[in-house]
Symmetry: D3
Subunit: 258 residues, 6 copies
């Protein structure tokens, strides 16, 4: 059994249950996925990088809790900015850590040659582009396309959202020569199957893709020792410094099957 923790790095548990359902539906049979969010009231989403900064510290605390106390096999920091992934890996010990952009892009660049990322707002693009470059996929990026929707709008009128996603996905294929589409926000969940069926190219979902990538990382870590290298940038936080990063017990939505 692989135990995975999905972290909604926000100060609301509103998305925990629906994302949990989605994750459990999409996971491998022997995967158990708990979903959590940050304790206390805080940002409802991370569209602004300043909000990302605010939740970065507590997220590190949750990573410590997950790695040291709960011994999850993998954790996913559930925002397409992949916030604080470097820091999380320093803290995670044997636990794998990944995040939506990393998971989506490795898949998209393999099943296709050129992908388009559908973002909510133009504002998101520079930081996300920085990650595309960091992971190595700049030459596989056909385009960013803007849905002109905010995070909190994606699930309020699902049919309208799906229509918007489909329209931009079709344009990505027709105008930008994308042969894969990436949904650039975790809250765009629930749409990929239908859009994929209609647009005819792989539509990589920002919840499901990092989940499967996390399972993969957990498996190769356990089976072959291919875990985060400690010889370079992911040098682990030593105990004398870890004291500055208090453990945080998150609000938790536990997989009912375990």
């Amino acid at each position: 059994m692989t135990r995975i923790l999905w972290i909604n790095p926000v100060g609301t548990s509103a998305y925990d249950a629906p994302i949990g359902e989605e994750l459990r539906r999409e996971a491998a049979p022997d995967t158990r996925v708990d979903v959590c969010s940050l304790p206390g009231v805080g940002p409802q989403h991370l569209e602004w990088n300043a909000l990302e900064a605010v939740v970065a510290g507590p997220t590190m605390g949750v990573i410590r809790w997950a790695a040291e106390q709960q011994r999850y096999d993998a954790a996913i920091i559930g925002c397409f900015y992949d916030p604080a992934l470097r820091g999380a890996r320093e803290l995670a010990g044997a636990m794998a850590v990944t995040a939506p952009a990393e998971g989506c892009l490795h898949i998209a660049a393999t099943v296709g040659d050129q992908f388009s990322i559908l973002v909510g707002r133009k504002k998101w693009i520079p930081e996300m582009h920085e990650n595309v470059v960091k992971y190595g996929f700049a030459n596989h990026l056909a385009s960013f396309r803007v849905l002109d929707m905010s995070v909190d709008e994606f699930q309020s009128d699902p049919q309208a959202t799906q229509k918007r996603i489909l329209a931009e996905a079709e344009q990505a294929v027709a105008a930008d020569r994308a042969d894969a589409v990436v949904l650039g926000c975790t809250i765009e969940f629930g749409f990929y199957r239908e859009v994929q069926a209609q647009v005819g190219v792989p539509v990589i979902d920002a919840v499901t893709a990092p989940l499967r990538f996390a399972e993969f990382l957990a498996a190769i870590g356990a089976d072959h020792g291919w875990r985060t290298s400690r010889a370079g940038g992911y040098d682990p936080v030593p105990p004398r410094e870890a004291k500055w990063i208090p453990l945080v017990a998150p609000v938790l939505d536990i997989d009912p099957r375990q």
Copy 2:
């Protein structure tokens, strides 16, 4: 159960049994791995790109056999040059196809920031570098390091080979700031665990890594429809053209567990 075909794209079955054993030892529990090589006598390895050209056609025939007649879930073209991967994907239908460099590099660039690839001969570097660029990982490449060994030497004196690999792996970490090491030939199999234990960074094996990556691709294809996109470069070969690519039934080493 996931059925995977490892193709040794050479005209000798000498490596089929030992690679088969290695693959079955390293695979996920529900994976069955058959190993095959090309029928008839042919190149014993693909160090020269002209040899790669010679086996490219028959390899396409094996891909057709695997996809159309045997319906494998995934196939791996077992040479670190990733020969004819584009063509294979055109032919593979719903079957996933991958190859060692692709599998190794996606893993190496995730568990570390900078990897070094250990090749047998300097001669291999330009084509392999072309693939590093193609997959997007040029900025994650710390170095190529040359073992000064040919393919057919790797398994002839395993202790000597392991010593060479360890020496270069240590230099990759110390001198090139690699924090992961990739074994740049499938016939470097059998050494990664020991070298990894000694050098202290992930050592990504060119047999095991693409196997696990193939399992991953098969799973996301089956579960989410994330299969090779048909909208761009992987447009499938139409029936009227497929006639030029005769099916090839390979020499087969079947997984005894199925």
Copy 3:
């Protein structure tokens, strides 16, 4: 006298005569150009990379025949994917080898700053882009433009083809700021002079350009010893391995002037 072999790497001799005429019309006065195709029936074109794989082996055999038995000064592998060029160079000894994309791009990037490549199908782009990057000209690439024609359509209604080429060439200049145009398929032969006259920028032809580049390479090889380096990726195939690459005597259209 410079003796050049143009290889149509396909299993039809249908294009040998017309391409031969074109080549002899366009060549330097002291160049003799034989044209050949692969013996036996096979792919009529290489639009799919799997077809390219099928002809790669026989093409190597023709290269050996040309270099070892016929001692051509240069050979051209006549497909804009530049198939198996690395392997061909390993085998070619003192004979120069080039291919259409290489020849065209060196010229286009010299007579202009930004070129557009006119391809038949969107499907061709990823592999061709890989070659643009390999040769170094990614920053000189204004665009790929798609004619929406297959290889076998180019010569069936020449006037219609020329009109399509002209339309896209004009758009390349006007919309993409290309100041040179490259015809991205050898079967787009016969159009460049007229299109060039009308569009007013250099239109680089995929038959004539590699011919002239081959003459150039043959000359600098013979006169200055600037032949394929054997110290790196083009390390020659040693005799013990060459046995796996049987010589292939092609179907031959001999230059009548020799």
Copy 4:
């Protein structure tokens, strides 16, 4: 008068006074520089990215305090990782914000062609390299050189530190062809003048350089309206979201001259 706030984004005020002295000595005559650190006990330095995550939130709060309540002309987030600079700019309104790597690299790439960055630990390199790429200076990077010292060692034996810095700076020039040297940590302050005099190339200091760059940004903002653009990635945090980012009044070392 230009009022600048230097933020030591750490939970110790130990460096505030010495850095304040250094800043006031190096600033333009009409600049007043206050130095602050985070209230409460916290990380003493940010060598690990997880520590950077921990201070990111409070640093945003200090930015709000500085911009909204104190109306500084510019703020500097005083760590060479340039932590949370995107978020800070979203919050800063008319106040300029910069950070050491940004300031140093713009200068180094102008006074020289190739610079070397002297870091304390190999561990720092990947995140810093990511910033070098982000700012555009990857092709100006001659090398990272490692001093093998931790942040808290730099000021403990200044003579030894200076000797180490000088040795690596000389190697950077001699072996890596650097023609400028960047000190890759703010706590490497106090050494640049002497090292520069000895090594003979510009040695860009991580305290002084961002100070001067901040003065420059403040001036062009005030005089020409060239302030952080709000049309893209630096879209400002709207009031409804700012509530998640409480103002933080830092520990403050005020410029005695104001």
Copy 5:
């Protein structure tokens, strides 16, 4: 007091007075800016690179005059091609030298993430793009946009020019996702404030930006010794060679305030 020389590298003094007025209006309070042009009649602008070549020699002579006889703190070679900047730096001794593209791009890439450069003619783009790459800002370039105006048209009907600039600036933001605009010719002076007010993103002026950047370079040179490095490409011209570069006393428009 900082003494700066703006060089109009053309054989007409027609622009000296208006540019001088603009510079003095925009400069820091303690800056004095003299403006000069080349003696004798010569090119009125440098739209063609051949004209740039013609003025390169006399410009070097003016640089020597400015550095050796007049001891300016900084000089600006006032053409957006940044002509002969390398040579000028070799000759400039302690004097800082910069040029419009350098100054504009450092600012634009800091206040925004993506900038668009508004050029007069398509013809200007390749050389300017070469400079964008040289300075490191290729990934910050959203687009070049063409005003379809010649240098000598910019000031002949200012209202029409401003309208053209505004129209393209708006398109740069709307269509190319630029969040900053750069005016790609010094003779586009006088428009930036109004366009900026209307388009709502920073509009970086090719006269004011290099002026402020020159002040900055002069200050960090004087205060910290961060002057052009002499260890690499800017190795100074030795006296034995300087004789080939005769001093040139330019036509001079002196700042009335000094």
Copy 6:
């Protein structure tokens, strides 16, 4: 017959005769090569970019003389900095223009995969690197290697020079994995054949290579109309502007065979 003008863009005719001999020995049989230098006394070489600036104007004048009055088929600006090549092309009409770096690099990147450029002084590297990038060959550059010799030393003790070149060429192959070597100064003429014979990889000569490339460009211009495009950066200087570029009749060493 192809008539080519080699321009030594310096104010000494000292190299005209020996370079002329070399050129005529190396040219195609039907090529006639005149060699010229600038009238009047001037820089003896162009090691400093300021010297390059000084000769840029007169060189443009020679280009006009060559193109308009003498109707050469091609001209070569004989310095490895490729000085003022853009301007020359604007002026050259139907005449081809090239320069040593352009010619050498196109050849080196074709006969090998990775080349090393042997320069006299470290000081030359930044501008030459800029050209390597401009032409597209950055990924083919193995290294610059420094001979620590000035231009005027190359021919003073030929045996010593050849020894230095050989030593660095051998290191380029052994240590930098170069499989081709480029001599990065025209005054390194006369050595390539011997060094090439000893080092065993192509050694591309900065006199012979651009000569042969110029012949090639002249041929494809005459035969196919593939001349400098006038639709982009090489827009020709119009007559109203050409008056600023007076024709210059150079000191001329005429090919005795014409």
